[in-house]
Symmetry: C2
Subunit: 241 residues, 2 copies
């Protein structure tokens, strides 16, 4: 079927999924491009697929064709995709023992980079605070390079989750430029939860108060701070090796 | 003086500086925002300053006021700045002994992140290959957080410069996902040149052939590669500590 109207009910429903709250409520998110669509099919999570008129598609999955205007109306990205799908959010909600927690991360590029770093360095659970950007935001997805389906992601109240983690005797490590403990002093442990904070403000004070340890990355004082995607890579790599 | 026309000759000259080739030829670049303008004044490199009509400015520097339209015409960024200046390019062209080389980096955000990482971890010379993005591109400048004036940057033919560096007995280290030497095996040396490659293709084969050593960062094979800004941070931090 060729869908030519942006007012088609299914197309309107896809557009609504671009809203974080609605997407989480429905347990669905929008994915763009071959890479993500293939991953969603592989993981048996794809529920709908739209293909730009004029292109064909060889997946064993029923799809609808849409006009350029209709495709554009569903996409948040600058370049209009040839393929756009709706995927289920994989929700197992189990917390592992190599945990990364994001406290108020706002920039989609940073969130995507951190997800990619987490897959690279064996993090088994990524927790986004309720006030962080959605991990299912299209700009986040683009920065992860298809890694979203290789990770276990939770969104929730991180104060409560940190208490739950501490109850399991897993050490919780905060990060702060003002900490007196430099990364090299941090014992390399197998089970941990490491927290990274908002781009401007860092980890919130009341979250830092819950931590067993707080570390900093030493650097030349000429540089005020590092990008949070970069900091996470340095610390995750340290704990990985 | 209030400049109201985009066709004013000085305004047209600023716009021409947004072009990489022209900017390098003139030895001048456009800077936006208080942070960079202040740094340029501090370093005695500012040559012109334009302030958006309606704002005042307390610097001891002669400036001209411009209308919103005129300001917009000079800016490459989405948000129009209140302050926009023209700065001299600080060109000392001396190569130090902690060198970072960029081979064909294209993304301005990555270039900015790498400059910031370099300041953090004591790199004294950053070399951009001729086919890399300009370090004086406004999007690069925005990602460096004002660090551009704290670094020594060269742009040039990196094959020739690598030969020059090797003549000084400084070890040249390439990076490649396919290398058999993992980062931990790399001897921590005080003098080095480390090369990072293009986002899609990595360091060019003929550049890798000039290297004394080539390293990789170990990671979970589920993750195909890391962002180059992230990789540079991990390796520079390793060499710094």
């Amino acid at each position: 079927m060729l869908i030519t109207s942006k007012d088609n009910n299914r197309i309107k429903e896809v557009r609504k999924l671009l809203n974080k709250k609605y997407s989480l409520q429905k347990g669905l998110f929008v994915i763009e491009g071959e890479n993500l669509v293939e991953e969603a099919i592989k993981n048996d999570l794809l529920v709908e697929l739209f293909v730009l008129d004029g292109y064909s598609c060889n997946y064993e999955f029923n799809y609808d064709t849409v006009t350029l205007d209709v495709m554009k109306s569903m996409s948040d990205l600058k370049s209009t995709p040839r393929l756009l799908g709706v995927s289920k959010i994989k929700n197992n909600n189990k917390i592992g023992n190599k945990i990364l927690i994001l406290d108020g991360i706002q920039d989609p590029g940073n969130a995507g980079t951190i997800i990619r770093n987490s897959v690279a360095f064996d993090i088994d659970t990524i927790i986004f605070s309720n006030d962080s950007v959605s991990p299912y935001n299209e700009k986040v997805l683009r920065s992860t390079g298809g890694m979203i389906f290789n990770t276990n992601i939770l969104i929730g109240n991180i104060e409560e989750l940190i208490k739950e983690i501490k109850d399991k005797n897993i050490k919780v490590i905060g990060t702060s430029l003002k900490s007196s403990i430099s990364l090299e002093k941090l014992e390399k442990i197998d089970e941990f939860a490491i927290i990274f904070g908002n781009e401007g403000n860092g980890v919130k004070e009341d979250i830092l108060n819950l931590c067993d340890k707080i570390v900093r990355i030493d650097m030349n004082p000429k540089c005020e701070s590092l990008n949070v995607g970069v900091s996470s890579a340095i610390i995750l790599y340290y704990l990985y090796k």
